[in-house]
């Protein structure tokens, strides 16, 4: 495994009285796509939100490119170079598509070359450029959420279930865009329930259960072993 962009050691997170993460140990390699898989309620989203600083861990440490980021605010973590696509997409409904994108460009205005790539990957965003984002369909909102994260280069992208509830054609569009991002050498940690998409994009896999990482390895190893898939995630149907 190449040098890590992100390392989690013994991370524990509570939400109110619930103990969600029980000591997560995870290494995310640089320039690769790491898929975080697991059943519902395993702690995948909590892991991403903890990395992002939206929930503070009460134990453990998180290092981004060798520097501690736990205890920092989400704004400070974002400015250290993490792009985040949350599970609920986090679209600003009252802002136009253009304003959503402009807000994500911390340097001011989006780079024209990057904007052209976004328009080529997601033509709907050009069509609805001046429309309120709240009027977009679910798939278009997801495209906007991804576009917002990639409008500038980031050290690491955290993407939470981009295919959730979307039609296959839109999932295919998103998959092409994410594959393109991967081919540019981006480091991505992605939560995904759709195993076909995970298999197509992922280089590495970490499987979670009950707030812990229970298995890590290469995607090729997991994809080629249906027994392992079934044991780790109950993916009997998916592996067929």
């Amino acid at each position: 495994m190449s040098d890590p962009i992100l390392t989690l050691s013994g991370v524990q997170t509570d939400i109110a009285q619930y103990h969600i993460l029980h000591g997560v140990d995870l290494v995310v390699p640089r320039g690769a796509v790491t898929m975080l898989l697991g059943r519902n309620g395993a702690g995948k989203t909590t892991t991403l939100r903890t990395i992002m600083g939206l929930w503070q861990p009460h134990a453990g440490e998180i290092l981004l490119d060798g520097a501690h980021i736990h205890g920092l605010t989400p704004a400070q973590i974002a400015r250290r170079g993490i792009g985040f696509v949350p599970e609920d997409m986090g679209i600003f409904s009252d802002l136009t598509v253009e304003e959503n994108i402009r807000l994500a460009a911390l340097s001011g205005q989006p780079i024209p070359e990057r904007l052209e790539w976004i328009f080529a990957a997601f033509p709907a965003l050009r069509t609805f450029w001046h429309s309120p984002a709240g009027t977009l369909s679910g798939g278009q909102k997801q495209m906007l959420a991804v576009a917002r994260a990639v409008v500038e280069d980031r050290e690491l992208y955290l993407i939470d279930e981009p295919s959730k509830g979307l039609a296959p054609a839109i999932v295919a569009t998103l998959a092409r865009a994410l594959k393109d991002l991967k081919e540019r050498g981006a480091s991505i940690l992605m939560v995904e329930q759709n195993f076909s998409l995970a298999r197509a994009l992922g280089d590495h896999v970490a499987v979670m259960d009950d707030g812990r990482i229970t298995w890590t390895g290469a995607m090729a190893d997991l994809a080629g072993d249906t027994t392992l898939q079934e044991r780790l995630m109950g993916l009997k149907m998916e592996s067929a």
């Binding site: 704004a75 986090g90 600003f92 409904s93 069509t127 393109d180």
Partner: protein, 344 residues
């Protein structure tokens, strides 16, 4: 990056005309009210006087309420202490105006306006500072806890009122308008108070400035996004707490400006005056749509016009006119006239 071909073509479905016009309907409320007033009030001169009076009152309430609606929209903070900034603004502005008695008493528009500007500046700086301290000491510990917010901000309001008694005494203070802002001028047979016309101009200027900041600047973009989804604004790299403190301070300063305007409107000030106006402020913030500056503007003008028309047509009705207006508008639009979509 290579270009990726889309596998599905985006389409735009044109909504029916009625659907497209729906969001803009509240904009028609103020002109419709003015036309209804024209039809209901027999004398055109009375209608014109009442209309300007209603608009002036509405503009002052807007100035006071605009900061409060943004504070609520950004952080879901119900600040019952907002009235304290109005009272403090009125007392500080009045103190400055009384100290500049030679300027306010001179028959010179320039000197009078300079005195008023000085009073407004002092009131806004001090109430902005009080707002900063209020946010740090009282509001910040109770983020996310609405019941505690109500209790501590009410407590803050009471303490602030008592401080006014300590500093300025328990008696009411009479403040005369500057010499050239006294009286009225005649327009189309109607007597229009000079001060009310100035209040309309100031209210319009504040609304225009707020609109420009919110719609044309990056800061405005962050504030509007923060009203929608503060968590995501942070995840994009913006310090929402700092933005919130800025909005809280600006909102307090605007309440201070509104306090000075209200003091010159009523020509008498008392410590609980801010608290008394808060009923109208709450009605405006609720019917406008929590967090919406545009809704707050329309709501304030509507409240001002309804109160003035009702007081003329049926004085007893004026007592319940604004509550009835709030009920009617909430039955029409339960989320207010210009609802702000919040991610939850």
């Amino acid at each position: 990056m290579s270009n990726t071909a889309p596998s599905h073509a985006p389409t735009i479905t044109r909504l029916p005309l009625a659907e497209r016009l729906k969001p803009w309907l509240p904009l028609l409320l103020v002109p419709v009210l003015i036309v209804l007033g024209f039809l209901a009030i027999p004398a055109t001169s009375s209608w014109l006087t009442l209309t300007v009076s209603g608009l002036a009152m509405g503009m002052m309430i807007f100035v006071i309420a605009s900061g409060m609606t943004l504070v609520f929209g950004l952080m879901d903070v119900i600040n019952f202490g907002h009235g304290a900034f109005i009272s403090f603004g009125a007392f500080i502005g009045t103190s400055v105006l009384l100290a500049l008695g030679t300027m306010t008493g001179a028959p010179s528009l320039l000197l009078n306006l300079l005195a008023v500007a000085g009073a407004v500046l002092a009131a806004m700086i001090v109430t902005g500072g009080i707002g900063w301290a209020f946010e740090r000491a009282i509001v910040r510990p109770v983020y996310g806890s609405p019941l505690k917010q109500i209790l501590v901000t009410m407590g803050g309001l009471i303490v602030a009122e008592q401080l006014i008694y300590v500093i300025w005494g328990g008696h009411e203070i009479v403040i005369a308008r500057p010499e050239t802002l006294k009286g009225a001028f005649t327009f189309a047979g109607a007597a229009l108070e000079k001060y009310r016309v100035l209040a309309v101009a100031v209210g319009l200027a504040v609304f225009t400035a707020l609109r420009l900041v919110l719609r044309r600047t990056k800061l405005g973009l962050i504030v509007r996004a923060g009203v929608d989804n503060p968590e995501m604004v942070q995840a994009l790299g913006y310090n929402i707490t700092r933005v919130f403190v800025g909005v809280f301070v600006a909102g307090s300063a605007l309440a201070g400006l509104g306090g000075v305007m209200w003091a010159l409107y009523q020509e008498v000030i008392t410590a609980p005056m801010g608290n008394e106006i808060m009923i109208l402020v709450f009605i405006v913030v609720i019917i406008g749509g929590l967090g919406s500056v545009e809704g707050c503007f329309i709501g304030a003008l509507t409240v001002g016009l309804v109160q003035n028309y009702a007081a003329f047509l049926e004085p007893k009705l004026a007592l319940i006119s604004n509550i009835a207006l709030m009920v009617a508008i909430l039955m029409w639009r339960p989320m207010g006239m210009v609802p702000v979509v919040k991610a939850k």
